[in-house]
């Protein structure tokens, strides 16, 4: 399917992700053991046959460049099309709080105009799901809509998608208004912030917004067209998580311990690709105990691991206990240390006998490279 190009817009508010994003973009937060958040949207695009993909970065993007690189692991290091990066000159604070992201899109107009695909898919990086964009594109063509927005109908997920966009839809699947989820309604349609439109329309929207100077964000330019253009909603039925807060990040990791979520995200034909690290297999020592855990390669487990997600190269030493936690790459949990409801960023070294307890609603984060 080479009629759809992709643009992944990484500019986003990171206020509620605190220390996890002080050193990186949302897209490069490690998740589910061996993945980074952006792996999901990138793999979804590639699995849908897309091969012309632009990533608009913001702020501290070094870890993202390091992870995605030339796009080799997604088969995107191509001679025709492939992967393109756009990095704004403005600071991330300017983008999120002041100027908006319309300027970034303006700076990539040449790329968008020069692409040969008829349609464009605009997305963010923080939605974790396994989605095929082909049915959405088919729907977009069949209905003749100007813009199609992917959404998921939520029943009773009161606390999960706070601050996400919501869409109100009439009986013809047309979007009549948009809003923000404040966590008060039981039933709502959360927007995946994935939009399909004709490439020409995107160019028009950007040029008009710059000309009039009336909107800061491309999203505003799109939703300003409600009533003017035909904007349709397309329902997504699968598993969805949004990585926009520490709580939601933690819950998404815990979801990945559920067999049905694993089956959908990782064991279908649409694989999630990631950077390869050449770690050996994981070693479980005599007298170690592991239960309900997602464990990446290169780990050494000598203690107890329960209800947890471990990235590559984690060492849980003798007598140490790790429960209900997310442990990132190369962490070391010292002998008889005890970790519960914690998020350990990369290379954290927990000394022996130390005890750290977070709370299921407020998991506690230990920053990258800390010795505690």
């Amino acid at each position: 399917m080479n009629e759809l190009m992709g643009i992944i817009n990484l500019s986003a508010s990171t206020e509620k992700l605190k220390s996890l994003t002080e050193i990186r973009t949302i897209g490069s937060i490690p998740i589910g053991g061996r993945y980074r958040v952006i792996d999901f949207i990138l793999s979804n695009m590639v699995n849908s046959g897309m091969s012309n993909i632009a990533i608009c970065t913001q702020g501290k993007a070094r870890s993202l460049y390091d992870h995605v690189g030339s796009g080799k692991y997604w088969d995107l290091d191509r001679k025709k099309d492939g992967l393109y990066y756009f990095h704004p000159e403005a600071s991330s604070i300017d983008i999120v709080q002041k100027k908006g992201d319309i300027e970034i899109f303006n700076s990539m107009l040449g790329f968008i105009k020069g692409s040969k695909q008829e349609y464009v898919l605009l997305t963010r990086s923080y939605m974790v799901c396994n989605v095929d964009f082909l049915p959405m594109l088919e729907y977009h063509k069949e209905t003749g809509a100007d813009i199609t927005v992917l959404y998921k109908r939520m029943n009773n997920h009161v606390r999960r998608f706070i601050d996400c966009d919501t869409v109100n839809i009439d009986e013809n699947d047309s979007i009549i208004s948009i809003g923000k989820n404040l966590g008060k309604k039981k039933f709502y349609n959360v927007s995946l912030e994935m939009y399909i439109m004709k490439r020409e329309l995107l160019v028009e929207l950007i040029e008009e917004s710059i000309h009039l100077g009336d909107v800061d964000f491309l999203k505003q330019a799109i939703f300003k067209q409600i009533g003017e253009l035909d904007i349709k909603g397309f329902a997504f039925e699968g598993y969805l998580a949004c990585i926009n807060s520490i709580q939601n990040y933690y819950k998404a990791n815990m979801d990945m311990l559920l067999p049905e979520v694993q089956e959908e995200l990782f064991h279908s034909d649409a694989l999630i690709y990631t950077k390869i690290k050449d770690e050996p297999s994981t070693f479980y020592a005599d007298d170690s105990y592991t239960s309900n855990a997602l464990v990446s390669s290169g780990c050494i487990i000598e203690g107890v691991v329960e209800n947890s997600v471990l990235s590559r190269g984690v060492h849980v030493k003798k007598g140490a206990i790790v429960r209900n936690s997310v442990i990132m790459q190369n962490c070391e949990i010292g002998e008889t240390a005890n970790i519960n409801y914690m998020i350990l960023d990369k290379n954290v070294d927990v000394s022996e006998k130390r005890v750290f307890n977070g709370d299921v609603e407020h998991p506690f984060v230990i920053a990258k490279n800390s010795k505690v």
Binding site: I272, P280, Y284, A293
Partner: protein
């Protein structure tokens, strides 16, 4: 100096069937047999090359090459996808004088003289694709240069019983070899050739041509080339290697080498960040250890789903182990599915085999059982 010139290049002999591995090598060459959860046997020789900074490698294939070829690809896992040098798979070929199979190890190199000449190497490293070991070839080359040797043979001390299976050599105090016997009935020493040789290319080139012209020769390094050079008083030296090395020629020795990975006393270390063993990685999620599972003293790789009990075992990529199954002292190769209530002890389960509900297979002190799914 041409821009293609290399000081040293490696040629890996990977054409053998390895018939003592039984059904395991019915469809794949011995160097492609899975090992240690995520590797294939040839990964060790290739990773040693990468880690020793040898960037030009030829791989001689002949028997069932498909899996091996797709595993090696363009050599990216070993950083051997290069503009100059890199890895080349060298199957037998057809030319003006006809087509023929490789007759022996020496003949395989002889047939590729023009490939080697292209790089104008000073030295050539001959390796086997079916040994498990971590060895720095750069150190062996330094030894070769220091001794001003024409040939250097890596050797390892073996037991007297084992000696009958190897090429056995005797050397003087200066490490100069004065006697070499292939698989002797009454070994004169216990120093075994590891099948790893460094030759001055000019010398080997001449020896190969001479050997090819000898109709009585078996065109084999161990049987012909080495004994002849020793007899002719060439400067052949032995380089003693004391680290881990294993020729996994039989089902039992393959099982034992896998078990060595679980032994903390063993010299075979896969966790050394300075000497990584590289392999073609699959796209697999992290392994999932279910609530009712129990995993102890074992190695488990990416993509596995473990619901049963695993002890003292090697569980390779994307293996599924069902509830109430007990896996002990076994090697489960990639993509195998162990259903519920299965009991395995001292077995090797081949790739992709489905072991049905409630199957019981037990090896014993003397025998490891190969589960082939037939």
């Amino acid at each position: 100096m041409s821009k293609f010139k290399k000081e040293i290049m490696a040629m890996i002999l990977a054409g053998g069937q390895g018939s003592r591995l039984k059904e395991m090598t019915h469809k794949i060459a011995k160097p492609a047999v899975p090992f240690g959860g995520k590797y294939r046997i040839i990964d060790f020789a290739l990773s040693n090359c990468a880690n020793s900074e040898i960037d030009t490698v030829g791989i001689l294939t002949q028997y069932e090459p498909y899996v091996l070829n797709s595993h090696i690809g363009i050599g990216s896992p070993w950083d051997l996808d290069r503009q100059h040098g890199g890895v080349r798979v060298l199957p037998p070929y057809y030319n003006r004088s006809g087509g023929r199979w490789y007759k022996g190890t020496a003949n395989a190199i002889y047939e590729n003289i023009s490939f080697i000449d292209r790089y104008e190497p000073e030295y050539i490293l001959i390796l086997s694709g079916d040994h498990i070991y971590n060895m720095d070839y750069a150190k062996m080359l330094a030894f070769h240069k220091k001794k001003k040797a024409e040939v250097t043979i890596a050797v390892k001390e073996v037991t007297f019983e084992e000696a009958q299976r190897f090429g056995i050599l005797s050397s003087d105090e200066s490490d100069r070899i004065y006697d070499f016997e292939e698989k002797p009935k009454n070994p004169k020493s216990t120093m075994a050739s590891m099948g790893i040789y460094i030759f001055n290319w000019a010398l080997l080139r001449e020896a190969l041509i001479e050997d090819e012209n000898n109709p009585d020769s078996k065109n084999d390094f161990g049987k012909n080339i080495i004994p002849k050079l020793v007899n002719e008083n060439a400067d052949v030296f032995s380089y003693e290697y004391s680290g881990y090395w294993r020729d996994v020629g039989t089902v039992e020795s393959l099982w034992e080498a896998n078990m060595d990975l679980l032994n903390p006393e063993s010299d075979l270390d896969l966790f050394n960040p300075k000497w990584k063993i590289y392999s073609a990685n699959t796209i697999s999620p992290p392994q999932y250890i279910a609530p009712q599972a129990n995993v102890e003293k074992s190695i488990v790789n990416d993509g596995c789903i473990i619901k049963g009990s695993v002890k003292n075992s090697i569980i390779s990529t994307k293996v599924k182990i069902g509830a109430n199954s007990v896996i002990e002292s076994s090697v489960i190769m990639p993509d195998a599915v162990i259903e519920d209530g299965v009991h395995l002890y001292k077995t090797i389960v081949m790739s992709g085999v489905v072991v049905k509900d409630n199957t019981v297979v037990k090896g014993n002190d003397k025998e490891v059982i190969l589960v082939t799914g037939e």
